[in-house]
């Protein structure tokens, strides 16, 4: 038990923080936090962030970063919200949106792994580019998808199982399991670790470094596009600034979850808990009687605090 805890110190740490935060919220506002509705609300909103955060975890483990996913969400969401009304086919709209997200991820991968542009610059540029293209293509106008409230694609993506459990929570569970398997059990996950840990060593031991980096970006693109489709369906609308609010949430989830900012290691479980933590903070803060302006400040604090704590943890383990 002790050895297990030692090996999973970061996971234990983040879980402790989540439980402590929850305890504070329950104490401050028992009526809200001891009843089911708020938790069902969390199950419907947290998956949007968490699904992207899972993809981001893999990218960061590979020693990379992707700042373009908000625009990937916007453009692939626009594709979804354009094709769905035009053809009436949910399957076609979903596939097109995913293809769009995957291609944008591939673009990042080619810039970073192929040409050798540092990821932070390449994806920042890509973010501006895709956001601009989205604005041009949409004329800056929102698209309503209210007409598809009762469509099969709505039920599939964001329906309520037994009338209560949001389907997106099940999607999240499935995707998390898949990402966990990839990271812990698959050669791709192993390649990600070594590419982020020591790229020269990875190359000299036969790890396909460029392909691994590229695939990580593609996977994140796919997940961002999928999350965007979920958001479109849940909200019943696509809007041109879609995705912008997720930048902070996703990075806060990943770093609060204990994934190393330096690459080479991370935890899928931690990211999941991190996303839950970030997801409940807003509701908790507002329902405890503070203004919504506080949440940003607290998110910032969570990111800085967790990154610092984990850096200290890492240093003590090295010795």
């Amino acid at each position: 038990m002790r050895a297990f805890l030692a090996r999973n110190a970061t996971q234990a740490c983040i879980l402790g923080i989540l439980l402590a935060t929850l305890a504070v919220f329950v104490a401050a506002n028992p009526r809200t936090f001891l009843a089911a509705p708020i938790y069902l609300a969390f199950l419907s909103t947290i998956p949007f962030t968490a699904i992207i955060a899972l993809g981001m975890t893999l990218v960061i483990i590979a020693g990379q970063i992707d700042l373009s996913f908000p625009s990937v969400m916007a453009l692939s969401g626009l594709v979804f919200a354009t094709i769905l009304p035009a053809t009436g086919s949910g399957a076609l709209a979903l596939v097109a949106a995913l293809a769009c997200g995957g291609l944008m991820g591939l673009g990042n991968g080619l810039l970073v792994a192929g040409i050798g542009v540092p990821a932070i610059i390449a994806t920042l540029g890509a973010d501006f580019f895709w956001r601009g293209l989205t604005m041009l293509a949409s004329d800056g106008l929102a698209r309503s998808l209210v007409a598809f409230r009762d469509s099969p694609v709505h039920a599939l993506l964001v329906g309520r199982l037994f009338g209560v459990i949001p389907a997106q929570a099940l999607w999240l569970a499935g995707i998390a399991a898949l990402v966990w398997l990839l990271y812990h059990r698959h050669v791709f996950g192993d390649a990600l670790r070594f590419v982020g840990d020591n790229p020269e060593a990875a190359a000299m031991t036969g790890v396909p470094v460029r392909r691994t980096k590229t695939l990580a970006f593609v996977l994140l693109g796919l997940l961002a596009a999928f999350s965007s489709c979920l958001v479109c369906m849940e909200m019943g609308t696509w809007w041109p600034t879609q995705g912008e609010g997720y930048l902070l949430l996703v990075f806060a989830s990943v770093f609060a979850g204990g994934t190393s900012v330096f690459g080479g290691e991370g935890t899928v479980f931690g990211t999941l808990i991190g996303a839950v933590l970030i997801g409940i903070i807003e509701a908790g803060v507002v329902s405890s009687g503070f203004s919504g302006f506080w949440t940003r400040l607290i998110y910032g604090l969570v990111v800085l605090g967790s990154v610092s704590v984990y850096a200290v943890l890492l240093r003590s383990r090295r010795r």
Binding site: R193, A201, A203, M204, T205, G206, V207, G264
Partner: protein, 252 residues
Amino acid sequence: MNSPAPFLRLSGIAKSFGGVTALAGVDFELAAGEIVGLIGDNGAGKSTLVKILSGVYAPDAGSLTLDGKPVDFRSYDVRRARALGIEAVHQDRCLGEKQPLWRNLFVGRHRAGRLGFIDIAREKTEAMTVLRDLVGLSGNGLSPEARVAGLSGGERQGLAIGRAMHFHARVVILDEPTTALSLREVERVLSFIADLKAQRRAAVFVSHTLSHVHAVADRFVILERGRVAAMRVKDNVDLSGLCSLVQAPGAA
């Protein structure tokens, strides 16, 4: 000495990095059960030759034949080299610091099924064997789950060598495997190399410590500024002769 015919032959290998010529037409041969000591000054091109042979770099010119068959450098890489039985322990140990030992042993060639999922239980068992039998590290309380970051320099070298030994390569290339090792650990590395010979496997041993090279190698190849400056069979040169040869290869 009636040495067997070489099964591996590099010829005319050239490589430059930008304006720097690292290798300017090197010929190199290796026979089964032969240990070749590759020696020369800093920057002579030893590591570059090692990296070309092990598939890390592609040469600008030159060819490789294995068992008389030409190997195409255009499709030659680390995986291909390993598949052909050529294994290297590089000068910069090539380990993932934050990763557990067992992942480091199998990186780039995991025991995985067709879908790419790793047989973790099997790899950990094998890793235990390597740590115990090949590296002798299990006595230090190291488990396959331990991370490289916590290993001493000697333990890291042991791990890198164990990795090369575990896959039954025909050729093991060791680039400065004895630097920064204690006497006891040097003995262990040299006995590894002797074992290779006993198993009729071949080795290339790069080192600046000529006494180590002289103790185990059958033949010495001296590189100087990207060229083979001299070559000696062990019977024809003693340790002091080797030293003067390295200091002034042209004069010999």
